[in-house]
Symmetry: C2
Subunit: 285 residues, 2 copies
Amino acid sequence: MNRRTIGILHPGDMGVAVAVTARNAGHTVYWASEGRSAQTRARATAAGLLDAGSIAGICEGCEVLVSVCPPEFAGEMARAVASLGFRGLYLDLNAVSPRRSVRIGRDLEERGIRFVDGSIIGLPAKQRGETWIYLCGPHAEEAAACFGQGPLEVEVLEGEIGKASALKMVFAANTKGMAALRAAVLGAARELGVFDDLERQWARSGTPMARAVESVGHVAPKAWRFVAEMREISETFESTGMPGDFHRAAEEIFARLAPFRGVREIRLEEVLEKLAARAATKSDS
Amino acid sequence: MNRRTIGILHPGDMGVAVAVTARNAGHTVYWASEGRSAQTRARATAAGLLDAGSIAGICEGCEVLVSVCPPEFAGEMARAVASLGFRGLYLDLNAVSPRRSVRIGRDLEERGIRFVDGSIIGLPAKQRGETWIYLCGPHAEEAAACFGQGPLEVEVLEGEIGKASALKMVFAANTKGMAALRAAVLGAARELGVFDDLERQWARSGTPMARAVESVGHVAPKAWRFVAEMREISETFESTGMPGDFHRAAEEIFARLAPFRGVREIRLEEVLEKLAARAATKSDS
């Protein structure tokens, strides 16, 4: 087996799951501690990642870089490593539109960097069969060899650069779009004074309110991360001729829920107040 | 029991279910054949409704009128019966925004017509416990006495005019919004060339593609009826401060599917082509 040096940018929960999947193939995995939090350091150290110090250090020391970051930073990250002289294999696993992935890839390839379009579907898993890394493009097989047997699964998609991003976009369009719509329905029901009536009608038609409330409570602490992703999905939908408005509305809902970042044990009433409060602020301005 | 004369405008499938529920309370139910199709006549006759001839005839002969029509005609219908001199009890069961219901009600009350805000949730049922007529406002109990024991259930909601419409809006916002989003996701997946990949990923995450395809096939023949309803929902959401864009997108999706009106046995490929074809036409113009 070809043991490689792989850099992970950055080891959040998902980045660590990706890094561990790379370590499980026998590769050496680095991260860069410069400017990162103590929490990130603890997570990286616990996962057995080596510290390359800075992004410059990771670019110099690694043959392969894997970008796992919020979509709004994907382009910036790619430009940074290119300008720092990295010339190896670059995997972008972020939730960006296929068009953006194509643009990032073209820019990197012009600088002599081999680009792989990728995406991740699922939560940061600890066991196999739950979460998939999708890879595509001319260097996808080389990229797939960077990963071992779990915890994440790896699959190469046929077709040009953008397919892995496209799959992520349509998958997330469904799950996150539905979650945002559900939150908006609960918010509207409360404002209209028919929340209890909706609960009774849903019980009659087999849609338990408890499940909707649980879904909203589950999504609220992560909503801040979804805002930019909804923009990518809107752009993707419009590029196919489908309406972008579903996910523009979802972006608005997640922006209103962003203050719940990291909060555990959220009561529904707090969520509904936040949805309504933002609305009030907006109509005041 | 007080036997009343009730006019139903108009006996489509849902109108007939409402009319039968009124007949089951021992009331005499009329319809107006003028300008209606042979199919409507057959349906009304089979349900035991009496023909009052025209709208003028029904206004003259009935103490109670029940409006069951597409939401875009709800206002027109109310104005018509008011100008024809009807002065009894008027039930608007249509899928309109609470604000529109309040406006219709105010106009009718000014003309001496007792107005009841209502809505129907469910399909045109043949047996009890499946579909609910909701009624509200000062005359809701009088209206409820117009209906018997099924096939539709009847419930009076507490609160002012608009509550029954509001409940319909939030319920339909959820089911029809989700159905439209699902169709758009399938359309985008096809345009992006990742339909099969999405099917595989959905199988992995417990969301069978077959169920999504079935939902789209189920909704397509009825989509034409949902276009104006989505506008009512957008307005309702915006009146509460929630984003109206979810249902503006849904309106667009249903408008694209409108050509499937009355078509049975729709293949998914036809639906996806229609979604994409409209998109192409739009970008050409």
